[in-house]
Chain length 268, copies 2
């Protein structure tokens, strides 16, 4: 998918919403546990209830890996199901990988070819040759961590370099030349809206994937005000705030209501 | 396993060797492809041929994930097999993960409880709260990327901070207070021996996991001279140089010979 196509979907659905599928088997409502694949059953219900409101879904790999092969099987079922519901939905593997060339190639093949993800989140720490293998797949995307939403972001990302800027800005400047706004986007936490304006100056045309609205306390209004590009350029993620909005048999309706609430405040 | 126990194994076997199981199904010798689990059959032969020479094994997760659920199954079989051969072998998940608290917990459970790994490699980019969940498991280890062996290490790891030191030294200084030499070690590439001496001054007692000998061109002699701690404190990894030493039916004998060669130069 190109950036123009993704922006078109955003305008069509009047939504920047990415639903994070951080599905914890322990939190799946009890009535689903009778199913052979309770995590997939949960995801399917969430997808059915939100597919007209969301432009993207983001399964968090850790939750599926923690379940072993059964988790991976249900991840695959989830990705296939999203594709079958609407081929224009953007599917992100939240994997935060990052490794040297030959290993990066294996990961790229795993996420882009074995699974049919559109994008994968990556850590920039190992530099250009750890990212480039992901930029070789037409229509597929690398999403680099820039400024994350957790308190640990202060430990290293905010460290100032002798060249004057903090590390995360250096990463934006350098890495933005490795790909294009059609195959590279950045993770910027909603908990740091004061930096969004500066980030937009460094990467005016790149998509930003924004976690941290809701459970982590970020403000949607501030993100919209400071983060939008000329053409849109935002994917705003909510995970727990949507998928765990309800705990009972009506969890999918509650998820839909939470998603609707968020989208109606997106000003599109 | 404690640092003292690992150092004891190193002295007993006169070896710092960690064998990297970056097993690419495409490179498995043709006669093994008749097997139901060719990657496991390959790993089992390598382990049988090297278990008295190596103190550690390091499956590279990317290669197993690229194969989908079958890869994960063969990874599990591999870890279980190593445990059954010799419970004192140290098993590292080369995963280079790094994510916020609740996700990090999922990964820790996946690697330490679902699989029985002793350690997992992690990226430090997201800071302390992304690492701490891995330090809560008695006897288990977090291995942080400090200075990697690839050319991309120059992009950000070597960037100098206003406080005077390069980023990777700041990471060593800060993170060494998060855990102890009994649950925290560091990845330092053998391709950068000139920095090993400085690193040893910052973390005199921590284990260093050293990739980059062999295929990547690092010198074993330089690593031994500059990297050893008082008690040992090194795990020296070789992946392709050992597991692909031969291509035919005698691949395991060739792997043993390559491992033996390396260990006999370790001066123990």
């Amino acid at each position: 998918m190109t950036a123009a196509e993704l922006n078109r979907e955003i305008r069509r659905k009047k939504s920047y919403l990415c639903v994070g599928l951080d599905t914890d088997p322990v939190k799946v409502p009890i009535h689903l546990n009778r199913q052979v694949h309770p995590v997939f059953a949960f995801n399917k219900a969430i997808i059915d209830a939100t597919q007209d409101l969301a432009v993207a879904y983001k399964p968090n790999l850790a939750f599926y890996e923690a379940m072993g092969t059964s988790g991976l099987e249900q991840l695959e079922m989830t990705v296939d199901y999203i594709r079958s519901v609407d081929p224009s939905l953007f599917i992100i593997a939240d994997a935060k990988r990052g490794d040297i060339g030959n290993t990066a190639e294996q990961y790229a093949r795993a996420f882009f070819l074995h699974y049919d993800f559109d994008a994968i989140t990556l850590s920039p720490y190992m530099g250009q040759d750890s990212i480039e293998p992901f930029l070789q797949f037409p229509g597929k995307w690398a999403i680099l961590l820039a400024l994350t939403s957790n308190s640990g972001a202060n430990d290293f990302q905010m460290q100032r370099l002798t060249s004057g800027e903090p590390l995360y800005e250096k990463i934006l400047q350098e890495s933005s030349t490795w790909g294009t706004p059609d195959n590279l986007m950045y993770v910027v936490g909603a908990t740091r809206p004061e930096f969004l304006r500066r980030i937009r100056r460094i990467v005016p045309d790149h998509f930003l994937l924004i976690p941290g609205i809701g459970a982590q306390g970020g403000s949607l209004e501030m993100v919209l005000e400071n983060g939008r590009s000329t053409h849109g350029g935002l994917l705003i993620n909510s995970s727990r705030g949507i998928i765990y909005a309800g705990k009972g048999e009506d969890f999918a309706e509650k998820a839909r209501a939470a998603a609707h609430d968020m989208v109606s405040n997106m000003g599109l």
